[in-house]
Amino acid sequence: MTRLPAWIEYLLIPIMNLALAFAVAAIVVMLIGESPIDALTVMINGAFVYEGALGYTLYYTTSLIFTGLAVSVAFHASLFNIGAEGQAYLGGLGALLVALALQDWLPIILMIPLCIIGAAAFGALWALIPGWLQAYRGSHIVITTIMFNFIGAGIMVGLLSGSLMRPGQSNPESLLFEDSARMPQLHSLLGELGIEIGRSPLNLSIVFAAFACFGVWLLIWRTRWGYALRAMGASEPAAHYAGVPVPRMIVTAMCISGALAGMMAINTVMGDQGKVTLGFPAGFGFTGIAVALMGRSHPVGIILAALLFGALLQGGSELDFEFQTITREMVLLIQGLIILFSGALSLMFVPWMERRFARKEIA
């Protein structure tokens, strides 16, 4: 088998796949009867230029870093965690329960780490069960995580419209996080230091997201455990012969993955809304799959991909205001195309590239 040079494999092919996805989206915009250039300009302005726009973009990016990392850790073990959506949802419950139990007594400096632990623990729990079932009972992780998304959503609807519902609400919403359990927003933090930035829900979670990226890199590429994990992902029987306790590794990998997904909740729930709302993960768990694929499961790639999708999401919401006939669901379409071209069809250009590359080698 020929190996492609790194710049083709990690730069050219991803860019070609991405370009293809955007080209199809541009054709769709033209079919609708609008100019793709105009739509792109609106999206770029909406994502970066307008006041507070960048803050929103980075806020979405933060959520996507968490879910993207979550999916990538499982990917390294060649496990497919489609359950990040449900794990993030349950993570919100974890943070909420910790906050409701302790927020009247403890100061913010203790509450924030405790709530993060709560979110991570519940996310991990929601991945632990599918992981355990895969490792010890042989049920397929993809199916169980899909099922757990729905089971989690059902439980959350029950709780949010039942015992955790805030009285006097018509929509199912949880009780509120007090200020002591809220993630400080950057515009108010920087405002106290005398630096003015536009209002946005961007909050301290982005710092935790950066730590998480570093932590995942360290864990996967700089520890024995990470080596064993990648070995298992490359070949399970080989890892088994080398003495890797495969079932236990599967369970731990899923727990870490779920914990990272659960931590998405600290960004949306504690950093912005201050309450758990119905369906708050809003598809970010699924977008995390796209982020992990685009980012080649590497933290640096994940940051870049999360930024791309964060910008798409924020810029896409601007489409609603500027066009009669294009809405933010355009972004969902683009997202689907990106997953298709850079995920499912990622090998499309490879044979062609290999032929070209082989020709070069002879010459």
Binding site: S139, I143, E329, M330, I334, G336, I339, G343, A344
Partner: protein, 322 residues
């Protein structure tokens, strides 16, 4: 509850089970050929939109059905292009199709109708209306059988009957024809089929075409028979429940049918029981009943009762030896 109440619950269970049966049969034929199909949800949604949009534009439910089938088969072919021709990851392709469909249906319906992602409400003659089977009046006075015939068996829309016919049809196709034998073999051991000189690729593509047709009919049922127009995200996870039912029925048509009916019955029962306490357990929240299909599937997959064995070559692209 009276006999008539029971019949009405079963009647509504049958209607709720219809999209599940069609999608589960689609999933069954595709997975029997070795292709994982978690894109059922997306195909169902795309079908629902295409049916409603074309029915609105042409005024004909049948044209809507054709459009639903076309759009769903198109997505199936995208899946095939990615997973069969380019040997891509089947689960990723399925997710892409689901996300693509949930974006594209809203984009297209906003572009066409500008109603915030909905299609205009369909008139009676733009929809499939319930048809009365012969004998409703003659049997009306017969006790037990009369109401059974009138309430449960008769008075459904055409897609409901198509769904019921699809089960024996798929069974016959897979277990009584040469095509079916080869199709099942391609899901177990594609190399054997290849060495017999039969094209693995073409067999798998045909399985996906049939799956697309079935999902398209299911979509048309949602928007032009059960409902009266397309609403965003109207598939509401039914494609995934169908997937669960397919696994729960262990990839066998009749068991899958039973699982679909059971899941439909659970939902119908939950709707009916909402707010009324049951003996011993008291009032059951509807959410609990609605997650039961998923819980049951997880328990089954874990091997705690019975064992669900998927086709052996499921999920692995076939590479021809050179």
């Amino acid at each position: 509850m009276t006999y008539l109440d029971f019949l009405l619950v079963f009647d509504s269970a049958l209607r709720l089970a219809t999209p599940l049966i069609l999608c589960a049969m689609a999933g069954l034929i595709s997975e029997r050929a070795g292709i994982v199909d978690i894109g059922l949800e997306g195909k169902l949604l795309a079908g629902a939109f295409a049916a409603a949009a074309v029915a609105t534009l042409t005024g004909s439910a049948w044209m809507g059905l054709c459009a639903a089938i076309a759009s769903s088969v198109f997505l199936s072919m995208v899946h095939g292009f990615a997973c069969i021709t380019h040997k891509g990851e089947q689960i990723i392709s399925g997710i892409a199709i689901n996300i693509l469909a949930s974006g594209a249906t809203v984009v297209a319906s906003v572009a066409l109708f500008q109603r915030g992602g909905q299609t205009p409400t369909l008139d009676r003659d733009e929809r499939f209306s319930p048809i009365d089977l012969p004998g409703v009046d003659t049997l009306a006075d017969v006790p037990w059988l009369g109401p059974l015939w009138k309430e449960l068996i008769s008075g459904h829309t055409i897609p409901v009957y198509i769904a019921l016919i699809s089960v024996p049809l798929i069974w016959w196709l897979l277990w009584r024809t040469r095509f079916g034998l080869r199709l099942r073999a391609v899901g177990e051991m594609p190399a054997a089929i290849d060495s017999a000189g039969v094209s693995v690729t073409w067999l798998r593509y045909r399985a996906l075409i049939i799956a697309g047709i079935l999902c398209g009919i299911a979509g048309a049922f949602l928007s032009t028979a059960h409902g009266a127009g397309f609403v965003r995200e109207m598939s509401a996870g039914k494609g995934y429940i169908a997937l669960a039912a397919m696994i729960f029925g262990k990839w066998k048509p009749w068991s899958v049918l039973a699982a679909c009916l059971l899941f439909g019955f659970l939902e119908a029962g939950a709707n009916r029981m909402q707010g009324t306490p049951l003996p011993i357990v008291g009032e059951i929240p509807i959410e609990v009943v609605l997650i039961l299909p998923y819980v049951a599937t997880v328990i089954l997959l874990a091997g705690f009762f019975g064992k669900a064995i998927p086709p052996r070559a499921l999920g692995t692209p076939y590479r021809k030896e050179r």
